[in-house]
């Protein structure tokens, strides 16, 4: 979910813009050598993920995959997600330049939860591992939904209802993303363990 231009208030745009700039600059410090290819690849997967529609009842949602990006890249998830969001602004006009900071913070900051829970998962086996992998995919989505609601709520009392509605809309995505990431992490551990190990 991208926040459109013109919706957020000036203080929120300023604070989120500064926070995103700091995060992205910090993340780019680690984008060198092998991490360059990996960051660019995960950035494009985050971009392509928005075309993968998964059914939920009569409707469908697209994958967000910020937990996966965070699990693989750690802090390099900040520049990866920023670059993907920037390309979405340019190619599809989703979001915008002034809200790019807010959208980056909303999507990229919770990605670190994916990194933490994935690391917890690989140290465990069986059901605890599956639970950690589920959380590595699901919690970043929940974190993003919460940040989205906070950013909107701070932009004016009038946006409080929109914030609540958007948060509730993300709850089914929380479960879908958790299940998809659980299977994805187990698949990657079997098929290409090195890919996630070097994160």
């Amino acid at each position: 979910m991208h926040i459109s231009e013109g919706v957020l208030s000036a203080p929120v745009l300023g604070v989120t813009g500064a926070a995103a700039a700091a995060m992205v600059v910090y993340g780019f410090r680690y984008v060198k050598g092998d991490m360059l290819a990996k960051t660019a690849l995960m950035s494009s997967l985050f971009f392509v993920g928005s075309f993968i529609h998964v059914p939920i009842g009569p409707s469908s949602v697209h994958l967000i995959l910020n937990g996966l990006v965070g699990a693989v890249l750690g802090v390099c998830a900040f520049p990866a997600i920023f670059t993907a969001l920037l390309m979405q602004v340019l190619l599809f006009q989703f979001g915008g330049f002034t809200t790019l900071g807010a959208n980056t913070v909303v999507m990229a900051l919770p990605a670190l939860l994916g990194y933490y829970f994935y690391r917890q998962g690989i140290r465990r086996h069986g059901i605890p591992q599956s639970l950690m992998f589920f959380l590595a995919g699901a919690l970043p989505v929940l974190g993003s939904a919460m940040l989205l609601a906070v950013v909107l709520a701070f932009s004016g009392e009038g946006l409080f209802s929109a914030a609540k509605a958007l948060f509730l809309m993300h709850i089914p995505i929380f479960f879908v993303e958790g299940i998809v990431c659980l299977f994805l992490f187990r698949f990657m551990l079997k098929v290409y363990p090195d890919f996630l190990e070097r994160g």
């Binding site: 780019f28 360059l36 994958l63 920037l86 190619l91 009038g158 946006l159």
Partner: protein, 218 residues
């Protein structure tokens, strides 16, 4: 009329910054938006359809402000600000390819680490996109019908996983091939998109717009 990608990006960023912080929208604040919409002659249908799609979220936000809080002024402010900026972005950017945006950022002399990441991201998106289309076809051939069940979610998880596995091998080969040819974190593109008269017109319009918005002419 087409503008060079670098000028389009810079103009869109500046107009967004000018408009997003407005607390009142005056009709003359839309002068630049009107200019780029007129210059998008020949692409009006695409621009109109995309604006309709993008307005779903904007109208949703405005309706919640209007219906649940009764704040008509705030709803209208959001609606006009959002539509002015979105119209400029759509009119300026439709028709460009991802590669052209990379050249645009390169011409704006942004840091190498950013432009190189963007370049690789654009190249990998092409690879991933083609792989994704092939896998989708393969699923269709096997009569896969997506439903709300664990089997469907597992299939999508494996699809994303296979996308990563196949693309990572290619990505590593591409970066190794570039390193072998002396790549040291900087790219030297040949395909510059030249700066033309239309770019001067768009810069001129942006200056006029800033005079209206900040210069007290409005």
């Amino acid at each position: 009329m087409r503008f060079s990608p670098s000028v389009s990006i810079a103009a869109a960023v500046l107009y967004s910054l000018m408009t997003a912080f407005l607390t009142q929208v005056h009709p003359l604040d839309g002068l630049f938006a009107l200019f780029v919409l007129i210059s998008a002659h020949g692409r009006w249908r695409v621009v109109f359809l995309r604006m309709l799609k993008l307005n779903i979220f904007i109208v949703f936000i405005c309706l919640t402000v209007l219906l649940f809080h009764g704040d008509r002024g705030h709803a209208l402010l959001i609606f006009f600000r959002a539509n002015l900026i979105t119209a400029v972005n759509v009119a300026l950017f439709t028709g460009y390819t991802a590669d052209e945006f990379y050249y645009g950022f390169h011409a704006l002399r942004l840091p190498d680490r950013f432009t190189v990441t963007l370049f690789f991201m654009v190249k990998y998106t092409e690879i991933l996109g083609k792989e994704y289309d092939r896998m989708k076809e393969a699923l269709k051939v096997r009569n896969f019908m997506p439903k709300t069940n664990i089997f469907t979610y597992k299939t999508y998880a494996y699809l994303a996983g296979m996308l990563l596995v196949r693309s990572m091998d290619r990505a590593v080969r591409l970066s190794q091939a570039m390193r072998l040819r002396g790549f040291s974190g900087r790219l030297y593109p040949f395909n510059y998109i030249s700066f033309g008269r239309s770019d001067i017109a768009v810069i001129g319009m942006l200056i006029i717009q800033s005079l209206f918005t900040f210069g007290g002419i409005v």
